[in-house]
Symmetry: C2
Subunit: 209 residues, 2 copies
DNA sequence: CGGTCATTTGAGAAGCCTCAATATTAGTGG
DNA sequence: CCACTAATATTGAGGCTTCTCAAATGACCG
């Protein structure tokens, strides 16, 4: 499967911080796996308010939510220097006809994204959402071989706030409180998890494991 | 494609109001299209608080979010008398290997659900969410041949509130206000949309069309 | 027709937001 | 290399949306 995929992959980038990878409404042609860097997806409502939908780390796939409409339903922006592996979706789908494992993997990826979108849709406190956000980030970094205890927040406070449906000020205050309580140490974009167990306990209502 | 699907469909039900169709944690074996009735999906956190994830009307498919973990990540409960068309997922997937149209349809359904989950995840006012909920319900009924102007709310106020991340009291007050302003007429579970245009305008920030 | 449950209504409280000011950092050009 | 500027982040005070609590009303069912 990997060899076959290799034939139709296209390495793109680098995109610099702030550059658009795709824009809402553009024709959907390809999905892409993040190779390096972080991608932010968001929508902008008629009044100009932005709503951040997600952050994508190396190894994660963007564009899956565009299949349905054949158009990208959101913007994707590089938060730092980003490189991608792009796959023409028609070609991947055709290949998946011959490779059951590839088809199954695509189904899993799509299904997983439903779950992710669901997670933060719930009715939880600011504290719970922030804790869940940090734990989730930590696990995703760990899954890609980075340290789960210490990592860089590649996104701005505003983006975190927007993603968590909070004001930027509230994010600031939560960071401070978590730090005062010995849960984390945060300096600028540099974040260290000091008490994973207690943080996980806070996130429990959302993550449930 | 339809003929082939027909061979592996299994009609199940009826389930009566309150009966579970599947429970969180159960092994995932099948997806199902709602034939009649309404299904509610929800998760329960360790403290026992319920979080409603969605409502499924005739023609809509439940269980897609279970593919990823091979277990149902939520409970599905009948809100009234429900009948389903159940499809063994391994069988559908195998069939999709031979039928590109079926594969494409599954990809679309999954992708669509990502979008649905995203919709109400955003940071919107109670009024915006309620308006978007009613407009969305209306369109979904219309898509299945029912009246988009007048329909029955098969779910309790508590369920609507929980789904929209509101208190049941807030839902009550919103219904009253919408009615006072001539947007809707609501009596018990019977809902009529009187001013679709203005309701749509309220939902604009969420639905964006 | 009484009991139970769902819904509505009102009053007060809480969590989070907004606004405003300050502090800090990063980027830019001299 | 450093001052200057713009952007980002932090902190405080007050306000608003929505929640919680309590009670009353209305619907449904045996």
């Amino acid at each position: 499967m990997l060899r076959e995929l290799h034939c139709l992959v296209e390495h793109v980038g680098p995109y610099e911080a702030g550059q658009h990878i795709f824009r809402e409404g553009e024709a959907f042609t390809a999905i892409a796996a993040v190779r390096t860097g972080t991608v932010k997806t968001s929508v902008v409502d008629p009044a100009g308010r932005e709503q951040v939908l997600g952050f994508f780390l190396p190894g994660e796939v963007i564009g899956l939510n565009a299949i349905h409409q054949s158009r990208y339903p959101c913007n994707a922006v590089a938060l730092d220097r980003v490189t991608l592996c792009r796959f023409s979706f028609p070609m991947v789908a055709t290949l998946a006809q011959r490779l059951p494992d590839l088809q199954a993997q695509l189904f899993r990826l799509l299904s997983q994204d439903i779950g992710k979108a669901t997670l933060l849709a719930g009715d939880y406190t600011a504290e719970e959402r922030m804790a869940a956000f940090l734990i989730t980030l930590s696990r995703r970094f760990a899954a890609r071989g980075f340290s789960p205890r210490r990592f860089l927040l590649t996104m701005a406070r505003t983006d975190i706030a927007n993603y968590l449906r909070l004001a930027a000020e509230t994010v600031s205050r939560l960071f401070r409180r978590f730090q005062d309580e010995g849960l984390i140490r945060v300096d600028r974009r540099d974040l260290e998890i000091l008490d994973e167990a207690r943080l996980r306990a806070l996130a429990q209502p959302i993550l449930r494991n």
